[in-house]
Amino acid sequence: MTTLDPKTTDTADSAMSSRSTGTKATRAIGIAATFAMGWLVLFGLVLSPADVNQGESVRLLYIHVPTIWVAYLSFVVTAVASGMYLFTKKHSLGWDRLAGASAEIGVAFVGLTLLVGAMWGRLTWGVFWQWDARLTTTALLFVTYIGYLAVRRLGGSHEQRAKRSAVVGLLSVLLIPLVHWSVVIWRSLHQTASVLDTDGNIDMDGTMLFTLFIGVIAFSLLYLWLVMHRTRALAMEDMLEDRGLDIALAERRAEGGTR
């Protein structure tokens, strides 16, 4: 947590002077993520076999599934950070910025899932979109977090933003179980849980499973790298806004007399 919650926020100048959101830790994670991506490309495109039913298009799985899982992860992080903001005594804005950064990345990842899923659907089902429970709930998840980001941009003080968005962040996360179990709840066309299904049995080709595993690692590292940078960037934005307030204050005080 120490790396994610930028201590520098409270002392404006030290953070501004560095002019970068990178640190040693992020650089290490960035390098690791690049490596993992390389492995993913190697395994996903070359070493893993084509599927008996789906042929080559099955390779989309290695993006499709990790992205949505990482998106789940980021929304859970958003909810946890929101809770930490609301229920800890200090009400540290660091938690709020972590929540915001995580949600932004989550939205991007869900977008990727939708995109890849639609392409995959075109290849296997012949259409981009199906009126399927999982697809619909995924779309709803996407819209919900766009709403969350809109709430963050409502304006007002940082504390107001934090309080409002924390509430929405905590409520929105309830949608994730619905997306995950939608295939069970509604008779669905979409693949039911084959990796994370309830009985714990994993029935998948070994190499494919391993490739999927690499995908999850790679995208998780990417997430970690992005979220650290975004959190810091948001901290700087907040500081910049505070600076803006100083300037506006000076102008307002200089206004003096009438008009």
Binding site: G155, G156, S157, E159, Q160, G244, L245, A248, L249, R252, R253, E255, G256, G257, T258, R259
Partner: protein, 220 residues
């Protein structure tokens, strides 16, 4: 700064923003129990913002604001029920009658029917008007109804934003008398107004608001 039991309002270098705009740019002001303070200043100086801040509607961005002994940035809620605000808007439900409106606002603080009746009497909306829907009132009649709701609420701190605007001569006198009585009974009153003749004769002290800062104008 230690909380001061006697100061009803104690602002120290308070900054408040509306959107990005610093409507209050460092206001320092102290009001004691029983005072009637007139806030005056040009359009856009920040009078409305100051009153809404004291009512807990506008957050404190910097500085400390104590109202009735409570720090506004910590527990606004503790302050609120003791404060009565008349803003530029009346806060009335247009589809309800005058008496239904006043009763509703009185009920939020548990005021009795007798208090409602006397408040309506005081602001001259008791007889014919009582059962008229607010949407059918003239501008001044609406303002009186809002004031009646406020009077019934028996606040410890009254915040009035241009309360005289739209009232006729008689309602103005009624209002001023009510405020004087309330102050004598231990309430504190902050009035923002551009009608200096009347407001200056009502107030015990003037504070000038200029470009978001408060400057004591000395007592009358």
């Amino acid at each position: 700064m230690p909380p001061d039991a006697d100061a009803v309002v104690d602002l120290h270098d308070v900054v408040a923003t509306l959107g990005q705009f610093p409507a209050l740019s460092g206001a320092t002001m102290r009001v004691e129990t029983g005072e009637i303070v007139l806030l005056r200043g040009p359009n856009g100086a920040g009078k409305t913002t100051l009153l809404r801040l004291c009512a807990g509607l506008v957050p404190v961005v910097r500085g400390t604001a104590l109202v009735l002994g409570h720090d506004l940035s910590v527990d606004r809620d503790r302050v609120r029920s003791h404060v009565g605000l008349l803003g530029h808007q009346n806060g009335l439900y247009a589809d309800l009658t005058v008496i239904e409106n006043v009763r509703f606002w009185a009920a939020t603080v548990g005021a009795t029917d007798a208090e409602v009746a006397s408040a309506m009497e005081r602001m001259g909306v008791a007889d014919r008007l009582a059962s008229v829907s607010v949407s059918k009132l003239s501008a001044g009649q609406k303002r009186r109804t809002a004031l009646a709701g406020l009077v019934a609420r028996r606040a410890r701190l009254w915040l009035l934003d241009e309360p005289h605007a739209g009232l006729d001569q008689r309602a103005r006198d009624d209002l001023d008398n009510t405020l004087r009585e309330a102050a004598a009974a231990g309430a504190t009153v902050l009035v923002a107004s551009h009608e200096l003749d009347r407001a200056e004769s009502l107030a015990t002290r003037m504070v000038d608001i200029v470009a978001g800062r408060a400057e004591s104008g000395g007592s009358r």
